[in-house]
């Protein structure tokens, strides 16, 4: 602590109108350390990082780098000071090639003033090599996975000699293998003396990577500690201001009759898939990103064209040609990407929640508005959503509350089968817990719940059974109370023996 840290934020304050978004927040970063920044959604993490990146200006406090106070008035200033941020929503241009993205804003030119394409490619290759990546710089960025795109952004930051690198939820959309690659890269940068600020909701990850953690709550500084001195429970308590208990705790559930029965379902690169979900049961589809879980969900829901197989609800065949028909048959789905596929961001909570139940709340096509609004309010109450949020545009809500609005839609519809694709992604820990409670309550009310989760402890913790997918098929089924993360991962990656995978392929 005696040495001057690389970067120090002192009493940083930020107001938005009447709201105090940051209240005298402190933070310091040493060269060569990974410093985790944690807090619930709305705690002020993003605001603090936006001040650091020059996107917004602080109202008070000091930013000190190498012992000298600095001002960051624009993203260009931040770059000049060696501060780089890898945003949750990537800042790249998908239609351009990797190399073009890497040279963006500082394109090399030939003697004639035209773009020096050969040099663009060569420099890109060098930049990628510096982070040990063998991505082909000539391919369009958009053709890469999110993880690879992130690598490209990191390569850009490294090539600009960033000394402070902020990673905002970097693994949220990464497969396991990609995450491991990222962890290795983080280790490398740490050795090179870069200071890393790591924002993540994933406890295990933070404990694995970080040297220290700083927790914010409600825009205020709560505390900083070395990872060795703190337990995950301590940090959760600091984040929410109270003890949480075991997140996944739920009383044993009793499964009833089969509600959702899927046989031989196949589609583009998927299947054949057989699966059953019983009344009162929570079944979780585990597997790597790209293993086909979302595709299976979409096929069941009629969102994509199926090439074969049957779906039955309560023994009655459902031949959903489109989601409209699937919903009529009693299926509801909360898609993975709630902003692009789940919600109408500009529209009110009421409109968003009621949209799929309007047939039940209208007479001859005319909406019975008072009744529909009343029901929306009731569902919001069940989900602990503030009732006066009903007329707010959904985009004004936090991630957790947006997800609750997406869930409320199917509560209102009272669907028999619920398919929840990554229901807690990007959701703070308080809302996470409420979503788990809701899933449990739905199962207890006799619903059949099919969850997709990439968060293994969550997948095991909240479900009764696990279906492990790999390469478009269900390769293994196991009971959640006996499952271990290692076992699930082994089947998901195919290291558990090809023989087991083949023999389980069809009957799981």
């Amino acid at each position: 602590m005696t040495a001057e840290p690389l970067l120090r934020l002192e009493d940083v304050t930020k107001r938005f109108g009447a709201t105090l978004a940051l209240d005298n927040v402190r933070f310091d970063l040493r060269a060569g350390e990974v410093h985790a920044l944690m807090g619930e959604n709305g705690a002020g993490k993003s605001t603090l990082m936006k001040i650091l990146s020059g996107n917004i200006q602080r109202d008070g406090g000091r930013i000190v780098m190498d012992g000298r106070p600095i001002d960051i008035r624009s993203p260009l200033d931040a770059r000049a000071h060696g501060i780089a941020i890898i945003h949750q929503e990537l800042n790249t241009i998908p239609a351009m090639t990797v190399a073009e993205n890497l040279s963006l804003g500082r394109e090399p030119r030939t003697r004639f003033g035209t773009l020096d394409r050969r040099r663009v490619l060569r420099e890109a290759r060098e930049k990628l090599a510096r982070i040990g990546s063998d991505i082909d710089p000539a391919q369009p960025l958009g053709s890469l996975s999110v993880g690879m795109q992130q690598m490209v952004e990191i390569a850009r930051a490294v090539s600009e000699d960033a000394r402070v690198l902020v990673l905002d939820e970097p693994t949220a959309a990464l497969s396991r293998a990609e995450a491991l690659q990222l962890y290795a890269l983080i280790g490398q940068m740490r050795t090179a003396g870069v200071g890393l600020i790591y924002i993540s909701h994933r406890m295990e990850e933070v404990w694995q990577l970080a040297d220290r953690v700083t927790v914010l709550r409600d825009g205020s500084y709560v505390g900083t500690g070395a990872m060795g001195e703190l337990s995950p429970e301590d940090v959760v308590r600091m984040m929410v201001g109270r003890a949480m208990g075991d997140l996944y705790d739920h009383a044993p559930r009793v499964a009833g009759d089969v509600v959702l029965a899927v046989e031989g379902l196949s589609g583009d690169g998927i299947g054949p898939v057989d699966l059953e979900v019983r009344s009162g049961e929570v079944v979780c589809m585990a597997g790597l990103i790209g293993s086909g879980r979302t595709e299976v969900a979409r096929l069941i829901f009629g969102a994509d064209r199926r090439s074969g197989g049957t779906v039955a609800i309560d023994g009655v065949p459902s031949r959903p040609a489109d989601p409209h028909a699937a919903i009529a048959d009693g299926i509801g789905m909360v898609p993975e990407d709630r902003k692009d596929q789940g919600l109408f961001l500009d529209h009110s909570v009421e409109i968003n929640v009621a949209i799929s139940s309007l047939d039940r709340f209208s007479t001859a096509g005319v909406v019975r508005r008072a009744e529909a609004r009343q029901t929306v309010l009731e569902e919001m109450g069940r989900l602990h959503l503030r009732k006066n949020a009903i007329d707010l545009a959904v985009k004004a809500l936090s991630g957790g509350n947006q997800q609750k609005a997406a869930l409320a839609r199917w509560l209102m519809r009272d669907s028999r089968v619920l398919i929840l694709d990554e229901p807690t992604r990007g959701v703070d820990i308080g809302a996470k817990r409420e979503i788990y409670e809701l899933i449990d309550a739905l199962a207890r009310a006799g619903k059949a719940v099919l969850v997709i989760s990439s968060d293994l402890p969550e997948a095991i913790g909240i479900s009764d059974r696990l279906l492990v997918m790999r390469e478009g098929r269900i390769v293994h089924e196991l009971s959640s109370d006996r499952a271990t993360e290692e076992e699930v991962m082994a089947y998901a990656t195919g290291t558990a023996g090809r023989a087991a995978g083949a023999s389980h392929g069809a009957e799981a």
């Binding site: 709201t19 959604n41 993490k45 605001t47 936006k50 692009d340 109408f344 503030r386 545009a393």
Partner: protein, 341 residues
């Protein structure tokens, strides 16, 4: 429970409890365009001679009816995020068909219905190409705009068909209880449009498709059908507008409605409907049409030369769009509101 814990940290003031601060965007959404209209009317009645005489006001109402009916139908299309450039040409085709059939002896109500039907049919083609072949509506309707104009010229051999005793001319030049019939028709069209958009399931589906087509599909909205239907509505309204236009000039004009699609789009956008879809009000479209009508009539009464009228109209349209963009652009300090913290 998490909500009560963190109003302090929400970057978006709306998400916190308590009274939200003054919000220009919301205020403008509610009354802004109406203020513009009132200011314009006050201005005109002060400086333009005879502006606020009843007969002049009725005259304005009648003169805007064709554009307003066109704009009402177009509002549906634009709310889904689409566009229809062919409505001006539909005016010509439906007018021609209605006049030709009337001359051939078809009774007036049937001739009127035939005109509306032809418009709806044109809309069906636009809608089917857009919804089921996933073609860009701008291109599709650019094509049908040209095609239908050609069709109108072909049927009429390029010459107006004049029929001084046109049996349905009343819908263009008649009066009922002292009110011009086109104004009454316009009022009925807007009432129906308002009811559909504000009170029915169908209306909510229209907004949903424009707000986020993918999300609408996954919420059970049959996006294809809704898309098809809005072009049919747009076409039917254009057909009706074409019949009224033909009745007013007591003839079938192959050049009828040239450029009207742009005036109609201007009225819709002036009324606050977003060209991106999902946001807007039919009442705004009515006000937008009235503003354009008041402006042209007022400028004529003021003896402003036609060329200058165009300059002023252009400035007004850009002004309206600028305000629309101002209210949708996230102010810098609100940009973090989706993921504060």
């Amino acid at each position: 429970m998490t909500n009560e814990m963190k109003p302090l940290a929400q970057a978006a003031p709306q998400d916190g409890a308590g009274r939200p601060p003054f919000d220009f965007a919301k205020w403008w959404d509610r009354v802004g365009i109406l203020m513009v209209l009132i200011a314009l009317v006050l201005l005109m009645s002060l400086i333009a001679p005879n502006f606020n005489r009843i007969d002049n006001l009725l005259n304005i109402a009648r003169s805007i009816s064709v554009n307003a009916i066109l704009a009402a139908g177009l509002t549906f299309v634009i709310l889904t995020g689409g566009i229809d450039l062919s409505v001006g040409s539909i005016i010509a085709v439906s007018g021609v068909v209605a006049v030709v059939l009337a001359i051939a002896g078809l009774p007036a109500p049937l001739a009127v219905l035939a005109g509306i039907g032809v418009g709806a049919l044109c809309g069906l083609v636009n809608g089917a190409l857009t919804a089921y072949l996933s073609l860009a509506p701008f291109i599709v309707t650019l094509g049908t705009m040209t095609f239908l104009r050609g069709l109108a010229y072909t049927i009429t051999a390029g010459q107006p068909i004049v029929s001084s005793d046109l049996n349905f001319k009343g819908i263009g030049i008649g009066y009922l209880f002292g009110v011009p019939i086109p104004v009454i028709v316009m009022a009925i069209v807007f009432l129906i449009a308002w009811f559909l958009l504000e009170r029915t399931r169908y209306g909510r589906h229209v907004y949903a498709v424009g707000g986020n087509a993918q999300a609408a599909r996954l919420a059970g909205v049959r996006v294809d059908r809704v898309t098809l239907s809005v072009y049919v509505i747009g076409g039917a309204c254009a057909g009706l507008a074409g019949v009224i236009f033909a009745a007013r000039v007591i003839s079938a004009q192959p050049t009828a409605g040239t450029g009207y699609e742009l005036d109609a789009i201007a009225a819709v956008v002036l009324g606050g409907t977003s060209l991106a879809g999902g946001r807007g009000r039919i009442v705004g479209t009515l006000i937008g049409s009235v503003i354009l009508g008041v402006l042209s009539t007022g400028l004529i009464l003021l003896n402003v030369p036609f060329f200058t009228q165009l300059l002023i109209k252009g400035v007004v349209i850009i002004f309206a769009v600028a305000i629309d963009s101002l209210k949708t652009r996230p102010l810098p300090f609100l940009r973090g509101s989706r993921r504060a913290g």
